[in-house]
């Protein structure tokens, strides 16, 4: 007797966010990247459409990285000392879908570059590197409020993804992103209610939900991975059931978390495995963009998504 399959049909879907604008769209990118658009739970290909496979963004700094593990330094070689060369290697050799540019050099403790300098840097970067861009601040709220608007303006029309907006500091960034035609990263501290609340606050300012990507704040494998894993599953279930305020794609900052932990530092291959499994596990709970550091880990994840999405 044939088994009657249990099939789930969902009324909701995840919104599609486009990153990057080509010349015809007012930007200068060589391509655009789309994420989201799922109408079923992650990897349930038989129950809905998954029009966009998860994308890998390589994390690049605007300065030579200060505290990167030797394993990472070796993987990039001398290229890592110059942001432009570093990014070009990621695009040419490692097939980066996206570059995630972290403006670390604007941090008071890491060079304290001015907003003007940051804007100039972004302009130059956009001139040289042609893949769609994610821009993040240095994590110093006060400084980011000055730096990110300047970067946003410098990248006007390029449809970047810029972050991060947090619950008690989102207005400045939302206003800039809205004015310059970008999308925004909304960061919540492993808390589904705050994620929802922040999305509402942002959309209340006029930036539509279709221009928001959620950063659920992830922990690395062995360091709280399961919290984000479950928060993402819950958010996806709510979104597919029809809650539009949670129906945004996810961005997960995998590389920075994975390479912080003891196990990753202890052994090169273990570090790569750590970053790899952190990323693939989060893909299973719905990650749309994985911001990664090690090219070998990125290659692994690409193999994984290629396999999953082959023939879909």
């Amino acid at each position: 007797m044939e088994t009657q399959l249990v099939l789930e049909k969902w009324p909701g879907s995840i919104s599609v966010v486009t990153i990057g604008a080509k010349t015809a769209e007012g930007g200068s990118r060589s391509q655009t990247v789309q994420i989201g658009g799922q109408t079923a739970l992650p990897l349930m290909f038989k129950e809905g459409v998954m029009p966009n496979r998860p994308k890998i963004a390589f994390e690049i700094w605007d300065i030579a990285p200060v505290d990167f593990e030797q394993e990472l330094m070796t993987a990039y070689g001398r290229a890592i000392n110059d942001p432009f060369t570093w990014a070009q290697v990621c695009v040419d050799e490692f097939k980066a879908d996206l570059i995630c540019l972290k403006m670390q050099g604007t941090h008071p403790d890491f060079g304290d570059r001015s907003p003007q300098e940051a804007a100039k840097f972004v302009s130059k970067f956009l001139n040289q590197i042609k893949v769609p861009l994610i821009i993040t601040g240095s994590g110093d709220n006060a400084k980011d409020n000055l730096v990110l608007p300047a970067c946003s303006e410098a990248a006007k029309g390029e449809r970047c993804l810029i972050g991060s907006a947090v619950q008690d500091n989102y207005k400045t960034l939302v206003a800039s992103v809205l004015a310059d035609g970008h999308s925004i990263i909304a960061e919540s501290p492993i808390d589904i209610n705050i994620a929802k609340q922040l999305n509402i606050l942002i959309s209340d300012m006029g930036l539509s939900l279709e221009r928001i990507v959620i950063d659920p704040t992830i922990g690395a494998l062995g360091y709280g991975l399961e919290y984000a894993y479950s928060i993402m599953e819950r958010a996806r279930l709510a979104a597919l059931s029809g809650d539009k305020t949670l129906a945004c794609p996810f961005i997960c900052f995998v590389g920075q978390e994975a390479w912080r932990v003891k196990e990753a530092k202890a052994d090169g291959r273990q570090g790569i495995a750590w970053e790899t499994l952190t990323a693939t596990s989060l893909i299973q709970s719905g990650a749309d963009i994985l911001v990664m550091r090690h090219p070998k880990a990125a290659e692994n994840v690409l193999w994984y998504t290629d396999g999953l999405f082959r023939g879909q």
Binding site: M1, E2, T3, Q4, L5, V6, L43, M44, F45, K46, P189, L221, G222, Y223, G224, L225, E226, Y229, S230, E233, R234, L237, R260, K262, E263, D267, R269, Q270, I272, A273, W274, T276, L277, T280, S281, Q284, S285, K296, N300, W303, Y304, G307, L308, F309, R310, Q312
Partner: protein
């Protein structure tokens, strides 16, 4: 599907005699549906109705135990699709396939490596669970290799062979260790079913799809073979995840008994990263057993850590005893560092203190397993809570100074804490990784 109160009512005598203590049979049926009362409360229920209700009460995914000694483990008995709904119960058994075409020495070497794949992480022992011997050569070689397994590992065993006669001989050889047999299919159903029954062994049932497997389990069940494990073969990752998800749904949502068993997933990738990714995918998505070949410690540690994460009870984060811990050869002037009783916080601090080689005390405050910032937000890691812990743990009697190091993330409580506890507060680094440098400068 679970029986409703009305379904159960139809099975009761409908006399409303009140012997069960309730006014009507319907009321009793409602209590049964909620599992609030046992069926024995009604003296008049028919044997047939009792059978139906008892079958109904069985777990939707049958628990199966593998192995016999201290390394035995249970799989199955899962109750939810998503870990946040309750928790995943029985961590996926991680096993290794060994080919009998290897030489004796190679097999022994592998077994020794496998036996050593044990790691301690955040206070838990992470270990591998199973060794599977696969027949590639002739039957005599398989038996020789099985004898080596018997002697060189205490882990639960599994036998993989296409030849029922050879499988039978090997099963008899290992019978005291209750090996898992692989596997029953359409052709050998009868002989393997009999063997499993004869020796009371768990049996894997293989088919290419869910329908085939379901058909086979029904036939085996009818012959009285009960401890089954399902296998839908090696297939592309997305298809395998679909099978695993569908089988879990069949068991939980439809109470489909023919698929209410743990599932086995064999990973067939030569590259260790690819093998680890696939194994991790099956661990997250419902596999009861995952079989791999790679023996590298880094690969095993990353897979086992993922399993530890996924199988942590979301309602009960790993906690340690909240008290004062002495690390190294402490004396009354050793520094005191305070953190939460969330295992991850404590063990991260512990690791750094140990590597700094500076003897120190760690005071673990009862935050009900919350991490530093979460506990601070929930007011379980504030001036009051820490002051109380200082008193209860006997810090004042143990050390001869009044300095306390707090995590950098809660620098804002320094003032309050200093007032309430009378200790001088030193703000430590935000990340535990900064502790060795910090501790060395403290002296």
């Amino acid at each position: 599907m679970a029986l409703s109160g009305l379904d159960i009512y139809k099975l009761l005598p409908k006399t409303n005699c009140r012997q069960c203590g309730l006014a009507t049979c319907l009321a009793f049926a409602m209590q049964l549906a909620k599992k609030a009362l046992p069926i024995e409360k009604c003296p008049f229920v028919s044997a047939e109705a009792k059978d139906i209700l008892e079958a109904q009460a069985l777990p939707p995914i049958k628990p199966v135990i593998l192995g016999t000694n201290e390394f035995r483990f249970e799989l199955g008995n899962e109750t939810v699709m998503f870990r946040h709904e309750e928790k995943f119960r029985n961590p996926t058994g991680v096993g290794f396939i060994i080919d009998d075409s290897l030489t004796d020495d190679e097999i022994i070497l592998r077994l020794e490596k496998i036996n050593q794949l044990k790691f301690e992480r955040v206070g838990q022992l992470l270990a591998v669970n199973l060794v599977a011997l696969k027949q590639n050569a002739d039957g005599a070689r398989f038996l020789q290799a099985a004898a080596i397994l018997l002697k060189h590992t205490a882990l639960p065993l599994m036998l993989i062979s296409n030849d029922p006669a050879v499988l039978k001989q090997a099963a008899y050889l290992l019978k005291d260790r209750k090996p898992l047999l692989y596997s029953a299919n359409r052709q050998n159903l009868k002989s393997l079913g009999e063997l499993a029954k004869e020796l009371d062994l768990p049996l894997v049932v293989s088919g290419q799809n869910i329908d085939q497997v379901s058909q086979l389990t029904q036939e085996l069940n009818a012959c009285g073979v009960k401890d089954l494990i399902l296998d839908t073969g090696i297939k592309p990752l997305a298809d395998k995840i679909w099978d695993l998800t569908q089988i879990r749904r069949q068991a939980l949502k439809k109470l489909n008994r023919s698929l209410g068993y743990p599932v086995l997933a064999i990973v067939d990738q030569a590259d260790p990263y690819q093998e680890a990714m696939e194994a991790a995918a099956y661990i997250s998505k419902y596999a009861g057993i995952v079989l791999i070949k790679g023996l590298e410690a880094w690969e095993a540690l990353s897979i086992l850590t993922l399993r530890q994460n996924i199988y942590t009870d979301p309602q009960k984060p790993l906690q340690i005893d909240p008290k004062l811990y002495a690390i190294g050869t402490v004396n009354p002037s050793s520094p005191v560092l305070v953190t939460t009783n969330f295992s991850l916080s404590y063990y991260t601090v512990l690791g750094e203190v140990e590597s700094s080689k500076v003897p120190a005390y760690i005071l673990s405050v009862d935050t009900q397993g919350m991490s530093v910032l979460t506990a601070w937000a929930a007011e379980k890691f504030n001036a009051e809570a820490i002051t109380k812990a200082l008193t209860v743990s006997g810090v004042k009697e143990t050390v001869g100074h009044k300095n306390l190091v707090i995590p950098g993330y809660v620098a804002m409580i320094s003032g309050d804490l200093e007032d309430q506890s009378g200790f001088k507060i030193v703000v430590g680094p935000k990340e535990a990784a900064g502790l060795p440098a910090f501790l060395k400068n403290l002296h």
